[in-house]
């Protein structure tokens, strides 16, 4: 497989006709919903100043079919699937939203493609073989997600992972036609930007294996922690903690927040114009991680001997404890009081 630069060069060469004018090589996109809530589609529809459809158009992506928005229905759709399977229709990007349900007893019958006897387990596997790239949109399609929560009634898994274990409905060593593993846009639901930027990078031939983390998540958002840029950072620094929901302090010590352990540039982006989970006053549940659905007591920090079990991802525990004790003793009164209020009660001002 040629390297990324080489691939880009080939692409660009192919985009210029004899006249030298750019004739964009458009790519095709098919979106399937498996065991999904539809929330990832709802997130995608929030994208962009011009709206998702205009943006896909501008990115050079032609939507072959999406169950929520396309006109084609019934037989027309089945014929499209058949054309992809015979190779008559090029499929560049296959997006799958929702868990792959293998139950009951491995039959996949908990999720049948309506109008047919075919399961989504079978259909998604079959179409993936014809796709240049395969994208799992959301933590369900990536890892199994909420439907895989105990007692996992439907034997749910992701396309390429079963929880954190490689190998879901596709084998661990599966690669798409272009040589990539399934690209996992984790999140429940993911940020609209994560979805569209990943599709844009694929359309541009600009996303290679090195751009993904060990779980197949694009590093442009997975290289960050949800904690980075949190509006509660000053409270975190001084370990000035909220005790109950709606207080402004850091939610790590008491309220179950996992932002220091969860990947995602959540607090470096605006969600719905300016929000984020921690900004809105509730805990990060690490929805970009495999197995997040197994957690219990969302808004309670598990502790042993008064010390939170889940410390920041890669920080030595002894150092964390030492620094926490030090910063607690240095906490300004303003920070301490504001941490335990639902609004700013002490304004910043220069110390005398």
């Amino acid at each position: 497989m040629p390297g990324r630069g080489a691939r880009a060069a080939i692409e660009i060469a192919g985009q210029y006709g004899d006249s030298g004018a750019m004739t964009t090589k458009r790519k095709t996109l098919l979106w399937l919903q498996a065991g999904s809530c539809g929330g990832c589609t709802m997130a995608a529809l929030e994208q962009g100043g011009a709206g998702l459809f205009a943006e896909l158009q501008n990115l050079g992506l032609d939507l072959l079919w999406h169950p929520s928005v396309s006109e084609a229905t019934g037989d027309e759709v089945l014929q499209l699937f058949a054309r992809i399977e015979t190779g008559a229709q090029q499929l560049d990007i296959l997006c799958v939203e929702g868990s792959i349900l293998r139950g009951p007893n491995g039959t996949g019958r908990f999720n049948r493609l309506s109008g047919t006897q075919r399961t989504l387990l079978d259909l998604s596997r079959a179409l993936a073989q014809h796709a240049e790239y395969c994208v799992a949109v959301g933590s369900c399609a990536a890892f199994g997600g909420i439907p895989a929560g105990d007692p996992d009634p439907t034997e749910a898994c992701g396309l390429h992972y079963d929880g954190a274990e490689p190998g879901g409905s596709l084998d661990a060593d599966w690669r798409s036609r272009a040589g990539l593993p399934v690209v996992n846009i984790a999140g429940c639901a993911p940020h609209p930007g994560w979805i569209v930027e990943t599709l844009a990078a694929l359309a541009a031939g600009d996303l290679g294996p090195d751009d993904l983390d060990a779980l197949g998540r694009p590093l442009f958002f997975a290289g960050h922690l949800a904690h980075h840029g949190c509006s509660r950072n000053e409270f975190y620094e001084f370990k000035a903690s909220a005790r109950v929901l709606s207080e402004r302090g850091c939610m790590m010590e008491h309220l179950g927040c996992k932002a220091t352990q969860a990947i995602g540039d959540c607090n470096q982006r605006a969600w719905n114009g300016g929000g984020s989970c921690t900004h809105a006053g509730f805990a990060c549940i690490s929805c970009t991680s495999p197995g997040f659905e197994a957690a219990r007591d969302t808004h309670v920090t598990p502790k042993i001997g008064g010390v939170p079990v889940g410390l920041p991802l890669d920080m030595p525990k002894a150092w964390f404890m030492t620094l926490a004790a030090l910063s607690k003793s240095a906490t300004p009164a303003r920070v301490r009081q504001n941490a335990e209020a639902d609004r700013v009660v002490v304004n910043p001002k220069r110390a005398k």
């Binding site: 929330g39 049948r112 309506s114 929560g149 639901a189 805990a283 969302t298 609004r343």
Partner: protein, 477 residues
């Protein structure tokens, strides 16, 4: 007689399949199925009660706030907390944003594109409608999607994100807005008003809220805007005679404040007159589930793929033993909306036109109410009361989602969920047959619909199904 199986049935939320028995070009019998089961009621059992707020919203990406609010309502009952006024108002604003966004998605993305089909190419209105509403390519979505995204900025302010937030708690909402936040809310609502008045209505919201008679509606249809364009198509295609359903109309009541509900709870007959609220039960005679109690407070969900006669993962909810229709048309009929009641009364039942009209009129009514709720926020006061964890007891959370009556029946022991049963709006509307063989509302509404030469592809079938705005992921959960 021939049997048609219709699917994949797209531009609905989730997985929908129809089986139609057609005789002489008309539907003689219809069966509706949802073909996806994820097992949320099983997943919720055994978890700490408060975790319902993490799991339940994820039943549905399009009604996530509604699922949150139903779960929060049960927990509120169990832990006895009362949210402060700001908490109620902010929750109403988040709920309004979701419901209006859903109504917009339905009208522009799901429902209207069917009128662009080649089947209608000879109609005088087809050119204009095709240009405006063609799926993915039409100009309307280019106007609507940015406006919808902007409206959902309300979620950024109140709920952190959408879908799937934990901001909506039994004691209120987790973030206290400051003065800047309140002003941003009003700015967002102002932007929404501008979109709705320019594109959807071509008229002030107040004028839409004042429509009371079919004659006023007919006059309005001659004006500009996307709603008027729909009304002209509806008149030509006689959508007031299509998809008729004469069942009780049920609403659980929506948008509560100390002054009461904006749209009260209740039941109306098919012509809109008030009826008493009855007992609710769920049957599984046609569903892939093992027998359990009919009372959702006592029942459990156990899949049974081998059940004889089963054809859907939806159960069959019944109100005093009968199917009932729910949704914007029921909500407005129960609330006494004069125009909706008149349209129902003329037809002695609901139909495609009134279902869509009720939904679109509600956009104006709710947007106006939302402006009042935002202005009423007192940013000096609390938005959330502290509440203890629910330890034991049983309760019901009843709310109105965009698509109608949503209920969560929950029992808790030693802080852990013992049973959790959900009846969603489309479980009512797209119910399969019950133990007595009585079809659900859609199954009844499809009988008699002409399929003509188009068979399964007939646009009339598509109009009837989509007029209910089904959410199949909620239906079977």
């Amino acid at each position: 007689m021939s049997r048609l199986v219709v699917g994949p049935f797209n531009r609905v939320e989730g997985d929908l399949e129809l089986t139609l028995d057609v005789e002489d070009g008309r539907v003689a019998e219809a069966r509706v199925a949802t073909t996806l089961y994820r097992g949320f009621e099983q997943i919720l059992v055994g978890r700490p009660a408060g975790d319902a707020l993490t799991i339940a919203p994820r039943i549905c990406g399009i009604c996530s706030v509604s699922q949150s609010l139903a779960a929060a309502a049960v927990l509120r009952e169990l832990c006895g907390v009362q949210p402060p006024r700001n908490g109620e108002l902010a929750a109403n604003l988040a709920h309004a944003a979701e419901n209006i966004a859903d109504h917009l998605s339905h009208f522009y993305l799901f429902f209207m594109p069917d009128f662009c089909r080649a089947e209608y190419a000879s109609k005088p209105w087809h050119g204009e409608i095709h240009k405006r509403f063609k799926a993915v390519e039409g100009s309307a979505a280019r106007d609507m999607l940015p406006a919808r995204a902007r409206l959902l900025h309300i979620m950024g302010l109140i709920a952190g994100k959408w879908p799937h937030s934990l901001a909506l708690q039994p004691g209120g909402v987790t973030r206290a807005l400051d003065l800047g936040g309140k002003m941003r809310l009003l700015a967002i609502l102002g932007d929404f008003r501008a979109f709705a008045e320019k594109h959807l209505f071509g008229a002030p919201l107040e004028q839409i809220a004042a429509l009371e008679t079919p004659e006023q509606l007919a006059a309005f249809a001659e004006g500009p805007g996307d709603f008027a364009a729909f009304l002209r198509v509806a008149r030509d295609l006689r959508l007031d005679t299509l998809g008729r359903c004469a069942l009780p109309l049920m609403s659980f009541g929506a948008y509560h404040t100390a002054e009461g509900a904006l749209f009260p709870a209740g039941v109306a007959d098919a012509a809109g007159a008030a009826l008493p609220m009855g007992a609710i039960g769920e049957q599984v005679a046609s569903s892939f589930f093992a027998d359990s109690a009919e009372d959702p407070a006592l029942s459990f969900t156990t899949p049974d793929m081998e059940r004889a006669q089963a054809y859907s993962f939806a159960k069959a909810p019944r109100l005093d033993g009968r199917p009932a229709e729910t949704g914007a048309v029921a909500r407005q009929a129960v609330a006494g909306h004069k125009l909706v009641r008149a349209l129902l009364g003329d037809a002695r039942g609901s139909h495609v036109l009134v279902r869509v009209v009720a939904r679109v009129l509600e956009i104006a009514a709710v947007a106006l109410a939302a402006e009042n709720w935002a202005r009423a926020l007192d940013v000096r006061e609390s938005f959330c009361a502290a509440s203890a964890a629910a330890v034991k007891g049983a309760g019901v959370g009843r709310i109105e989602a965009a698509r109608g009556a949503l209920g969560h029946w929950v029992s808790v022991e030693r802080g852990v969920i013992r049973s959790y049963q959900i009846i969603a709006p489309t479980t009512w509307n797209f119910s399969p047959r019950d133990a007595a063989g009585v079809p659900g509302p859609l199954e009844q509404a499809l009988v008699g619909v002409e399929t003509g030469a188009q068979g399964a592809k007939a646009a009339a079938i598509q109009h009837v199904v989509r007029s209910f705005d089904p959410c199949m992921v909620c239906t079977a959960h």
